[in-house]
Symmetry: C2
DNA sequence: CAAATCTCAGCGGCACTGAAATTT
DNA sequence: CAAATTTCAGTGACGCTGAGATTT
């Protein structure tokens, strides 16, 4: 993706710039996951399970931002690889309770490092403080409230 | 898209934030174009034609960032609606020369306004200076060199 | 009964690939 | 001949919809 040479109209358009950088981001990230025969969505699921504990697929959908039907597919895959467990909820038999296990946590830790490195590659043209700024601006635009509880649940990723 | 409630891992990940905001951006922008029975890609083509003049489809592909095969499809559409003209290049008969006409320019002007308004909606949570910052950071991350020739080719869009 | 949950089949937009046809 | 250009058919990932089955 070479943005120089593109029309001025586009080069000034936030939505266009977002789209272009997102293309590069998807490429970089997908490559990381492909090396593990995994998918972006599965990282989101593992992250939600690690942070919020065992939960229904509906809850997973809400927390991960994935569609309910995609949650079904990706949990299938994760369960088949023994990275998560899926069991009917005895308290409400409409639900499946999904939980991450030790192998899932190990994989998540390994992925954190590689994904962090990919972020650095993606934003190589920016300084550290610029990367921080970009993250804050994106979060604010999304209506993200400061992740309360000043104590971070997860250790700082290495791209910071 | 509600980003609060998402895992901390994701909320700190530039590529994830990019993806989430890009989803909203696509939704906002597509709605604008749908009202004109148009497509995002066609705006990019019109913008390239307006700024750089008549050119081959290969050149259009490079300038607009669209794939060569998609250029074929969208130029088909634009030509069918008499917004651009497509004629074989007498100097090199492998090429088609595509050019924008008066109707295309009028449409482009109208779109500029509506797209500008959509950008404002997308970034409503940001102040003006934050929006400017975001655009600059995205551009820098993409390796965009300052659009040289301090004189802008296009009038400032109203979302600035 | 209405509402929630899970599951499955499939759709539409989109970036992209491969190959054929033509011309330089 | 190799390389460039246009065109077309098709693919795969992705976000999403609709509907059915089950349970509360």
């Amino acid at each position: 993706v070479d943005v120089n040479g593109a029309p001025t109209r586009l080069r000034r358009l936030p939505s266009w710039l977002l789209g272009q950088l997102n293309v590069e981001a998807r490429r970089a990230i997908s490559a990381v996951f492909a090396a593990h025969d995994l998918h972006r969505s599965q990282y989101a699921l593992l992250a939600a399970l690690e942070q919020f504990g065992p939960q229904s697929q509906a809850a997973l959908s809400q927390r991960s931002g994935l569609d309910r039907s995609d949650v079904v597919r990706w949990v299938d895959e994760l369960a088949g690889r023994r990275l998560v467990a899926r069991a009917p909820d005895p308290a409400d038999r409409r639900r499946n309770v999904v939980s991450i296990n030790a192998a899932g946590r190990r994989l998540l830790d390994r992925l954190d490092l590689e994904i962090g490195a990919a972020q650095e590659r993606l934003l190589a043209a920016l300084s550290r403080s610029e990367r921080r700024q970009l993250v804050q601006l994106l979060a604010k635009a999304l209506g993200s409230e400061p992740s309360d509880g000043a104590a971070p649940v997860v250790a700082d990723l290495n791209w910071r």
